[in-house]
Amino acid sequence: MTAATQTPAAAPSPVLTFLKQPLVVALTLIAALLLLGEALSPGFASGQQILRLLIVAALLGIVAAGQNLVILGGREGIDLSVGGVVSLSAIIGGNLMNGADSGILPAILGCIAAGAVIGLFNGLGVTLLRIPPLVMTLGMLGVLQGLLVVIRNGIPSGRAAPGLSQFVTQPFLFGLPGIIWLWVAIGLLMAFMLGRTVFGHRIYAIGSNEQAAFMAGVPVKRTRIALFMLSGAFAAVAGMCLIGYSGSSFANVGEQYMLPSIIAVVFGGTPLSGGKGGYTGTMAGAVLLVVLQSILTTVHIDESGRQMVFGATLLILMLFYGRGRAMRA
């Protein structure tokens, strides 16, 4: 930075620009952590182990896809209800399947519909009633947690269909489990949507300047509602995959995804203010988070030490990413 400012042209060196890209930062950190993990416990970075990490990262990454969209849309966009949707989807999916392959399709459709409807409510509250997203989705989270208690008391938690479990955990194509292919497909779809479609451009438009976007004829409200619906739908897909991964759902399985999905987005280079960033970085951010967590479970320290190191490391890693601007007179 200082070297670049000395030259009058003020063009930062291309190498430095490349190195400061969030995606590059995340990938470098992932590589470093994998090396560290391998040094701490040999076998950490083995193919089998990395595959397992990627499956866990895919679950988080799919939730983060929806979170990413809502955050990109700006106006303090955030979705705290994703954790509730993941839990709800896992229990709805488990019951619709109830251990039978024939139930997979209805389960997928049912879950995505449920997630989208929850997202629709969030979106309506945020746009029509102009409730701040944090408040709206926080309230929705409370409702979903209550709904889970009702459902859980009425019906058993359900079981994953063997086909689904196989898709999530067993090799599907070229030795990789289906969920990783699904994640790659979502990644490509997001890249295409954000980069090449009108809808994608609208997201960036409302995220960077809602007023200007409105003046330019972007249907701001409809777009934002769609973002929340997509967020619900992605969280629902993740919930389905989660029950495939664990076999059956247990209380509040989704809670662990609420704030980590936001951190994955931030580590991926999308600032919480919205309007810039993308999903490719978020995918790397999700892998980074999961690798970090995994290293901490391999080293032998107490739960307390693990949490302290995890929290401190998150803070240090955040220093690599978009810090706020300093105040200037």
């Binding site: 701040p132 859980r152 008391n153 931030v266 995890f310 706020g324």
Partner: protein, 328 residues
């Protein structure tokens, strides 16, 4: 002010009242809820009933106050609950180590305040000085604080000495202790509201750039907001320890989001620059009254959480809509 210049929209008395006291809608909701509580369970509005409610929800009120000072400046603290947990286990362990006497209680409370203050300052440095995004940064510190709490007390269950919880639940001169706490709190809040810090926090939250240009130490002010938040989180921990009479390294975790909800219910804007501490206290009370009302109307136990969640969501929406109409 601008509304007055328009011919058609001369602000009515009610509107001006809400404008000046943004917590009024919350107060109305709270009174209605209190009346409903009384309707379904007359004993709940008796002296003993109100005392019990205050005793249980004083901790959430304290945490809502804590959250308010941060929200004033447009920040948020997702680690508030973790600070409560940490202070809770620290004071319980200190009291146990020092033998549970009156002196040990005082010493433990002093240490507890210090721990809360330290946590708040850490948050302030991370968010204001290092300029990390408040939501993710305080989530990270909350993991750190929870780790510390687990280090101090790995499993829940160490009891607090009787000297402590007997005082909290007891009476002085026939008046329950919690009312002394409330009276002291009112004085502290009254004084705090008249300090320069409260005004500065609101100025920073309203427009940080403008505050900076008019010479306010923006970073320092935000750190002070977080420090104040840490102190009140410690007070919340004292209340919860008095109520539960034991240490639990995870006791505060669930309170964080409720504290945010209470602040919003109280009419403060999460974007900063606008709000009142009184509103947040009423907001916390609303959450408590909703919880008890759902119980009193005889909701089947498995439906209680859902009805509570729905009621809080509706109250949040109603509060924001009414508040906005008053300010528009």
């Amino acid at each position: 002010m601008t509304a007055a210049s328009l011919p058609s929209s001369k602000p009515g008395g009610l509107k001006r009242l809400v404008e000046r006291h943004p917590f009024l809608p919350a107060l109305v909701i709270a009174i209605v809820l209190l009346a409903l509580n009384g309707l379904y369970q007359p004993r709940s509005v008796s002296f003993a009933g109100i005392t019990g409610l205050t005793k249980t929800y004083l901790a959430l009120m304290m945490l809502a106050i804590a959250q308010t000072y941060v929200v004033y400046a447009g920040d948020i603290d997702l680690s508030a609950g973790a600070i409560v947990s940490l202070v809770n286990v620290v004071i319980v362990v200190t009291m146990e180590k020092l033998g549970g006497s009156g002196f040990s209680v005082v010493a433990a409370l002093g240490i507890g305040l210090f721990v809360g203050l330290a946590c708040g300052i850490i948050n302030g440095i991370v968010v204001a000085a290092l300029r990390l995004q408040a939501i993710v940064a305080t989530f990270a510190t909350s993991i750190f604080f929870t780790g510390l709490a687990l280090y101090v007390m790995p499993v829940a269950g160490t009891p607090a000495p009787a000297a402590f919880w007997r005082t909290y639940g007891g009476r002085f001169f026939e008046i329950p202790f919690v009312y002394f706490a409330v009276a002291l709190l009112a004085i502290v809040l009254y004084v705090l509201a008249r300090t320069r810090l409260a005004t500065q926090l609101l100025a920073v939250g309203d427009d940080a750039q403008a505050a900076y240009q008019s010479g306010l130490p923006v970073t320092k002010t935000r750190v002070q907001g977080y420090a104040l938040c840490g102190l009140f989180a410690a007070l919340a921990a004292f209340c919860i320890t008095g109520d539960t009479a034991s240490g639990d390294p995870l006791v505060g975790g669930k309170m964080t989001l409720f504290s945010v909800a209470a602040v919003v219910l109280g009419g403060s804007a999460l974007s900063g620059g606008f709000g009142t501490v009184v509103g947040s206290i009423i907001g916390a009370l609303i959450i408590g009254l909703i919880n008890s009302l759902v119980f009193f109307v005889g909701t089947p136990s498995e439906w209680q959480n859902l009805v509570q969640g729905l009621a809080i969501l509706v109250a949040l929406m109603a509060g924001i809509l009414v508040g906005r109409r008053a300010r528009a």
